[in-house]
Symmetry: C2
Subunit: 426 residues, 2 copies
């Protein structure tokens, strides 16, 4: 980890720059696959399942596979998943409100908004090195709370099956249709629908750069997606009140995600920076995924600054996906954070708590998008539809306002839709 | 308008199909302009301002221009704009809540969510045939309520100036920085920033296909956008209780937007279909924009169905941007609508009320995106950041759950971030 001491303000942007990702070229590569799925449905889906995942079996997971999954999973792990489910459900439940308050903006003009769960949603769970069953909870629970009518899940099989923990978590969140298909072909199948896999209106979930590019492509075509995805990242803001070993563990837990993970330690204490650096080196040696973590750390930085005001500016400029505040006055600082995906306060709040079980969602905006995007929540699975009802008297009250504005915008048919009603004797 | 009687279910999708728009080719056309703005800032912005809008003056609107605008505008129109402001503000105000409820998901594990206005937002207001000052209200008011710190506005000048109604509306919503620049160059300037025009985190507003493609391009690069935009559309669902003249006026008010506007009349009454068709033909002749409306109507349809259940299915399948319910039991039907941008209930609620002044927002999802997207609201100008604080005791309660899950996902550094804290004697 490179240490930067009191960097000049005009260097901040370049210090905090993420590696650029240009998906435009990848989109051109994956476009033919998506077009083929659109055209040929299941046939194309199976073709790419064989090509990329060496899988030729049924797409739909059977009842029997579901039952076997439950048997195979250790009791302890099932209990842990159930506990996580409980906490995530408890945190997300109040995010949905059926309340529709009718607002009378003028006498006889009544408007309201209603939250409606998106009818059909698709969750993508990557295969890769590890089975990300925690993501099944993070996407499935808000979908369940939002009342989405059809929730499907796609994930690439390892061998003949999906990991039992993925199936167990899917059952907990009430998902009935699970498909053994991954990668670009899974995104295409959910976006366009095939004979077996139903078309959905919004696709959620992480994935590699091909999956991300496929999501981007279909989002311009027919379906919505959760958010643009980039490599995971953490900023730890620490001072002398922090524990170097804890901070090092947090930095490493991010670094082990992938070689492109972003890890930044921001501190007002040069002494602490040194202590943390040493702790990272020591802990790194004990990690199974140390090769990945080591590479991620090569691009990572320790930024030492003069005071908390400057640290705050840098933190809000970087807009980290995860921000850990291991500083004495952490709660006060937390109130001043405006750009971050999720904030972890104090020495006993590691990022992995939020990754798995504390209750908050772990699908968060990366790549600086925390400036404008929220993490996934029940909101992500809901649309808000506006309604209005105007009485004859109400239209008389508001009519001339509409007529004048429509005329000034030169939209005379808009004006006439009011005038014709005002003149009517019905 | 083509009349389709009781179309077979397997033809619905093709009847309701919108004209496909492929932006990928347009993106390739506009990409060099955006890259040039990114590289050369103001210099490139001015170059394209000259090329496309024949404008060479200052980018920033002056204080004097603001004052003149107020003088030039008729008193009546100013009053109308102020009334619209009042109604839109009243409807949008309750959408922002500063309340942050702390939720203790387990003993010692406290999580909460906070709404924070997006720091920097840019509003794009097209020039085109008419000055869309109503859109200034529709975007500026929620930005104001959300507490966005920097709100800028870009719009192409006509001659030397912006339309006074645009400037007047901008002043009402508290926008201080208004720039005379339009098209692709405006989107590039807001996305990347120039010496004069500040970079923003999210770009809002309608535009032609080049502006839309530019928004799409920059949304993959650095900034968020409000939503994918397509031609405006209305579905009027009417029965014999409706007034043919009113319905015709509503259909035409949509058709006058542009030749690609989508207009659909859905009805259970063949008799009403005929009456409405005749009324459209009669009213069309009196419209200044009849050439545009006529072309739009050529692609439009009257769909006659057997009963309300089928009509409901078709309406929810189409997911119209605007849905007018001119049926006897309109309020009951409204409760069953799940896919629509905004719903207008009864004979005295024309779409133009919502377009201008009733209070609801007029920036709505088109092209079937109402299945998954909401219209613009205060939510669109807000991020929700999650926070959590776990006590030492709390981590002891939740620790083993995290450890077990991290281990099952083969992320040992994630596990260690908990273990190292649990083992610590600090």
């Amino acid at each position: 980890m490179k240490v930067l001491k009191n960097p000049a303000r005009n260097t901040w942007a370049s210090i905090l720059k993420r590696p650029t990702q240009n998906n435009i070229d990848i989109i051109e590569q994956i476009r033919p696959i998506l077009e083929e799925i659109k055209e040929n449905g299941d046939k194309a889906a199976r073709k790419y399942n064989l090509k990329f995942d060496k899988y030729v079996g049924n797409l739909l997971v059977s009842e029997e596979e579901m039952k076997n999954a439950e048997k195979q999973l250790p009791k302890e792990l099932k209990k842990a998943i159930e506990q996580a489910y409980q906490n995530i459900y408890t945190f997300h439940k109040p995010q949905f409100s059926k309340k529709t308050t009718k607002i009378e903006t003028m006498d006889g003009v009544v408007c309201w908004r209603k939250s409606i769960g998106i009818e059909k949603v698709g969750l993508y769970i990557p295969g890769g090195t590890a089975p990300l069953f925690s993501t099944v909870l993070m996407l499935g629970i808000p979908a369940q709370i939002a009342g989405c009518q059809e929730v499907i899940l796609c994930s690439p099989p390892k061998g003949e099956h999906l990991h039992p923990a993925i199936l167990f978590a899917a059952k907990l969140v009430g998902i009935k249709k699970i498909f053994k298909i991954g990668g670009v072909q899974a995104i295409g199948a959910m976006a366009y629908g095939t004979e077996t896999i139903p078309k959905v209106y919004k696709i959620f979930g992480p994935g590699n750069q091909y999956v991300t590019a496929a999501k981007q492509y279909v989002s311009q075509d027919s379906v919505a997606i959760d958010m643009p995805a980039g490599p995971s990242e953490v900023m730890v803001w620490a001072d002398d009140s922090a524990v170097a070993d804890f901070v090092a563990a947090d930095l490493l837990s991010q670094a082990e995600h992938g070689v492109d993970s972003q890890v930044i330690l921001l501190t007002t204490s040069e002494k602490f920076a040194e202590k943390a650096k040493k702790a990272v080196e020591k802990q790194l040696k004990q990690l199974p995924r140390q090769e990945i973590a080591k590479k991620a750390l090569e691009n990572s930085k320790v930024v030492v600054v003069e005071n908390q005001d400057i640290a705050l500016e840098i933190s809000n400029l970087y807009a980290p996906e995860h921000l850990i505040l291991a500083v004495k006055n952490a709660e006060k600082i937390a109130e001043k954070i405006i750009n971050a995906g999720s904030v972890f306060i104090g020495n006993y709040t590691p990022e992995s708590a939020g990754d798995y079980a504390s209750g908050t969602n772990h699908t968060l905006p990366t790549n600086g998008y925390a400036t404008a995007y929220s993490g996934v929540s029940v909101d992500s699975f809901v649309k808000k539809v506006t309604f209005q009802k105007i009485s004859k008297k109400g239209l008389a009250n508001i009519g001339s306002t509409i007529e004048l504005m429509a005329e000034a915008e030169e939209l005379f048919a808009h004006k006439n839709a009011v005038s014709i009603r005002l003149k009517s004797k019905k």
